[in-house]
């Protein structure tokens, strides 16, 4: 069975070594295509409603680019560390893979804490989910991204835990690979969020 394979027997790209692995990768890419549409619609909603603020502070008054800068930095770096994890996986170094994934998770956690802090701050300022269409669409879009980050953290953590038991095999490799893809995607979405939500919000209308 697959689990008994030693590291040495692993193929160069273990995630694509089996048909199951290939299927998983393709399915996941397709899923990311669907996620593009999902976020696209959320962005569309936000774009349509972002200036509708009958009650509460506007984006320009509200946003603090310093926090956003730090969040961006954390998430970008976590994307890099997940690349390192996959590189090590390709070299068959399981320990390093696990380690880099752990770093990724920690950075993600940092991002999440900043975001929660930011949201509580906003609510305090009177920018609530229910206060205006801007509020509703803002929390839905950014919150949906945050939910993705949360899910990613839980997912990758379970993978790391599983990894201790199962090791690096042609069964676990696609899982690592796909999780890393997911994480990159989450980072990619953030690029548009800080551009469209925060920076454009700061520019005002």
């Amino acid at each position: 069975m697959a689990q008994t394979h030693g590291v040495a027997a692993l193929p160069a790209e273990p995630e694509k070594a089996t048909l199951e692995g290939k299927n998983k990768l393709l399915a996941f890419w397709t899923f990311l295509g669907a996620e593009c549409v999902l976020f696209g619609c959320l962005f569309a909603t936000f774009m349509a409603l972002r200036n509708q603020v009958p009650d509460g502070p506007t984006a320009q008054e509200l946003f603090d680019l310093k926090t956003v800068g730090w969040s961006t930095f954390l998430l970008l770096t976590s994307s890099l560390t997940s690349v390192f994890a996959i590189m090590n996986m390709h070299k068959g170094k399981h320990g390093a893979t696990q380690l880099w994934l752990a770093v990724t998770v920690l950075l993600g956690l940092g991002f999440l804490i900043l975001e929660i802090d930011e949201f509580t701050h906003y609510v305090h300022e009177g920018h609530k989910f229910t206060s205006s269409a801007f509020g509703t669409s803002f929390y839905t879009l950014v919150g949906c991204h945050g939910a993705h980050v949360t899910f990613g953290i839980i997912w990758i953590t379970t993978l790391i835990l599983q990894g201790f038991k199962k090791g690096l095999t042609v069964v676990t490799a696609p899982k690592y690979y796909v999780a890393a893809l997911y994480w990159h995607f989450v980072d990619l979405v953030w690029v548009f969020i800080f551009t469209v939500v925060y920076l454009m919000g700061k520019v005002g209308h």
Partner: protein
Amino acid sequence: MMDWLTTVDHKKIGILYLIAGGFFFLIGGLEAILIRTQLMYPDQKIFVGDTFNQLTTMHGTTMIFFAAMPLLFAFMNAVVPLQIGARDVAFPFVNALGFWLFFAGGVLMNTSWFLGGAPDAGWTAYAPLSSIIDPDGKFHGVDFYVLGLQIAGIGTLIGGINFLVTIINMRAPGMTFMRMPLFTWTVFVTSILITFAFPAITVALIELMFDRLFHGAFFEASRGGNNVLWEHLFWIFGHPEVYILIMPAFGIISEVVSTFSKKRLFGYSSMVFATVLIGFLSFMVWVHHMFTTGIGAVGNSIFAIATMAIAVPTGVKIFNWLFTLWGGNIRFTVANLFATAFIPTFVMGGVTGVMLAVPAADFQYHDTYFVVAHFHYVIVGGLILSVFAGLYYWWPKMFGRMLSEGLGKVHFWLFFIGFHLTFFPQHFLGLMGLPRRYFTYMPGFGLETGNFISTIGAFLQGLGMIVFLINIIVTARKQKDAGNDPWDGFTLEWTIPSPAPEYNFKQTPLVRGLDAFWKEKMAGNKEMTPAEPIGPIHMPSPSILPFVMSLGLFISGYGFIYHHYIVSGAGLVITIISMFLRSLFDDHGWHIEPEELEEHKGGKA
């Protein structure tokens, strides 16, 4: 029983889809009969006000999401892996999950009838009618719509992704893209449309849910929200959705028409091209449902032209079918009766579609019975006729028994005549000033005759359906009588026993051209050349987890509807735990050994 709850076999899942979809079709049809009964005469008071709106809404939603979609998924499951020479779909587990999610959503939504009332804002659920909350907090109709569709939608989405990957990665050796049977091609394009269209309704439903449950402001004008946003999101999904429905129907027609005229499909590559083009264009036309929303003349004109453009590739398909029949040796089996009846009927629906695409004229047609007539011509006269064609055609492959041709003919004529009686007069009713979603109309404006005829037609369709049900029962009670290849078919599914064994192909076939089986037959071979030696066949293990995961979401749905978030949480936890279990314990599957294969010969164990 447990066997069916845990199965991951695509053929059994296909049968599950068929049963569930058929059941919902009967429910939706019953609702249609009730609608028509109310409208038989003017000023009737059988189902008035919100009761009628609930019937209309549930009829539309049930038919589209819980009858038509699963019926197509039934064929996708039963046929596509066989047509591409695969042992299974790419993700058998996900396949089962997709079914159970759809089923959970459908059941959830239909329980609303017994829990204070069904959704009543139309299948399009336009905000703010749909986002208004009942002040007494008793009526939860639209919440059922939101959660039911959300759960079913996830199921459909993963189903779509599954078939996409299956078709890309699981084809038998030699089965290149341009050798794929047309049904597989249309399923391929439909899967793409599903993948990219369903997220839009996911977002729309999330927003509606947030507005309804958490007092969001997406669609509330007083807090800056915008109701037109819902219309955009719904139709960005909604228009591709109608092509999701019709594409596989096109595929079925292509298979049936060519088999029963003993001719290969005319213009195969242009058919493929047209299919892909229709799929692409379907994302560019959604505004044609919103001509009267106030988009402005520029937007309306652009989308009008884009909409008309779809007529061209669709026409290519129509003419290719006609020329497949041309010069053929046409057998009018029941399957082919349905398939050939599809052609003129669909054209009649299609051309009214092009008429609707003229915005200034659509100002008159929109939201009238003219539109109702249009879409029932393309849906019932297109999709449903082709579903029947497919059922009579593939029934032997799915169940090993031939449906009765005699009863089938009665079914066909009752349904077909009833259909035209129902919907043809509706064109005129619309133009004569009858808006849709009306529970009554005033006498004295010339609307009586048309409505009466229409109702009679609906009863005839009902009779036709009863004959079909009898046919199924009669067939189920007789011995298995179907051979491998009862219709002298062209494609790989006819090379294996009926019903197909668990592992589909004892040896993966080697495909040497388009219409693989036909090609071998012409070369004088009785069977396909195998592409591999006989060896042990790896099978996925059955699992109860898909059912449990769906159950979790089902429970959680009620929690959201009744604002008991502990229940929602508990339901979600069930689902998440199941996901963990799935991830933690790898499925090693099991093997069928070569010796067993010999025993299995000739049918399923």
